[in-house]
Amino acid sequence: MSGLSRLLIVVGCILAAAPLVLHLMSSVKSTSELNLSPPTLFPHEVTLSNYQALFTKRPFLRYCINSLTVSTLSSLICVAVASLAAYRLARGRGRWRSAIRLSLLVVAFFPPIVYVFPDYEIIQALGLVNHLWGLILPYSALNIPFAIWLLTGSFQQIPLDLEEAAEIDGLTRFQMFRMIVLPLVTPALITAGILVFIFAWNEFMFALTFITIESQKTVTQGVATLSGAFAEEIPYGLIAAGVIASAVPLIIVVIVFQRWIIAGLTAGAVKQ
């Protein structure tokens, strides 16, 4: 049993990592080596020319800065706005709380295709097409139901005695929220923030629709359109470099924040 378990785990980990390792190998091969048949597994000679091309021939740095800006702002706005609503919800009437939480859950399950066209009309009316705020607004809003849902549970676990004591000390409700309650739910805020960041970083459909100029594209759209960039040569090395360069930030996020990511993903199942 234990032997079979080990085998399954090893095979699983190899399958998970293999495609990325293959692309890592390809990304440091020269164009002539990439054209060899049969292809080589390990590079004969390590070259960074593909990465150089990625950052000089293509505006990959610009894509990264755009993604970072969009994801960071979306995450901050979403968590700030959601924490206010979630706190009020956690301290509200039970019947209302369940009704609002349920309707938020239903909305969170709607396929994004429902929103993409009417949201495009709104973003167009606001003059935000081809503007990063045209992505930040929808990403913040679309993740609010998930963030409220996650945070309400954490706020509910904070004992009311603390707030009663603070009220006697003459703090207003908002001061109480900011100085006493928020610091206590920091882990949940971090969890929500990281997950919204990842969701925003990974979003594709809205980015594809709302952004049509190179200088405002995000990483997902940038990588997806790398192959169309050069008509004559096969840009496989460039694509491999693009895949690896866009995977590295997320691999770091997973390693650093694993505990918080797991907490957020499993919150729905653990707290019923």
Partner: protein, 295 residues
């Protein structure tokens, strides 16, 4: 102090969320429902005309929609089941060994964290007929004499997008189920052992009932996401070859953005949500009643 004391201005707490949600979520839902009963396209010069149920009548006879719905259902059912089986097997394996849990979890989480569009590019190149690693391996080991065009035939393209989706999201199911397994008190297994039960009895009477709520969350999340699949297919196959991998989201997107038929696009979106709600409701009822019968 009462927990639910309503204070003056308590709605202010909801105001920012309500503003964002009304503009980006609730108004669009309303707008989509209204548009689904209207004609608004290139043909009407983008004027909105009342169309009654014409759009929905068209959906009933639209064979392209039926094909995309079938593709979406096959994709959803096959990939979610495969993800569940793989995720469960890995979660049970990791629970049964000592140590290394965090390292394994970190490695397996990477595919899930990658953007789907990037995952699609990654696998499209692994499966590329001329330069792909898979064909190189198959040719080299003599399994095949000619390169296989994985994304060029309808059946293999479908298998390719399902396999890519499984690669990306089996780790999600694994993480959820692993959390469930770690929640089970060890002495329940000891009790079964004392009663002379084997591995199957442990799984049937302890693991499975405890895992039900976790399985429910994982299946529900995955089924709803898989049904809405867009980016993976858009980047890998564009819905091809010959529409063989066109899902309802891809078809609806094309109707809106390429054919500029906004009334019909809205009707497709409304129909998709209606079918999804019915399916999710059915799944919910089936799983919850089964869960209650377990006890």
């Amino acid at each position: 102090m009462k927990t639910h004391r309503l204070e003056a201005g308590s709605f202010l707490w909801f105001l920012p969320a309500a503003l964002l949600l009304s503009g980006i979520v609730f108004y669009p839902i309303l707008r989509t429902i209204l548009l689904s009963f209207a004609r608004r396209s290139l043909a009407t010069g983008f004027r909105t005309e009342f169309a009654g149920i014409d759009n929905f009548a068209r959906i009933v006879t639209d064979s392209r929609f039926h094909a995309s719905l079938w593709t979406t259902l096959v994709f959803t059912i096959v990939s979610v089941l495969a993800e569940f089986v793989i995720g469960l097997a890995l979660a049970i394996s990791v629970t049964s060994i000592r140590g290394g849990r965090n390292a394994v979890r970190a490695i397996l989480l990477v595919p899930w964290t990658l953007p789907t569009a990037v995952t699609a590019v990654l696998w499209a190149w692994v499966l590329n007929d001329q330069y792909g690693a898979l064909n190189a391996f198959l040719l080299h080991s003599g399994v095949t004499q000619t390169p296989i065009g994985w994304l060029a035939t309808p059946a293999s393209a479908m298998i390719a997008i399902i396999a890519t989706d499984v690669w990306k999201t089996a780790p999600f199911v694994f993480v959820i189920l692993l959390a469930g397994l770690q929640n089970i008190p060890r002495d329940l297994y000891d009790a079964i052992e004392i009663d002379g039960g084997g591995a199957w009895a442990k799984f049937r009477y302890v693991t499975w009932p405890h895992l039900m709520p976790f399985s429910f969350v994982a299946l529900m999340f995955r089924a709803v996401q898989a049904f809405a699949i867009f980016d993976l297919v858009w980047v890998m196959t564009g819905g091809g070859p010959g529409g063989a991998t066109e899902t309802v989201s891809i078809y609806t997107y094309r109707t809106y953005m390429r054919y500029l038929d906004f009334g019909y696009g809205a009707a497709l979106a409304v129909t998709t949500v209606a079918i999804l709600s019915a399916a999710a409701g059915g799944l919910y009822t089936a799983l919850v009643s089964k869960y209650e019968r377990t006890f």
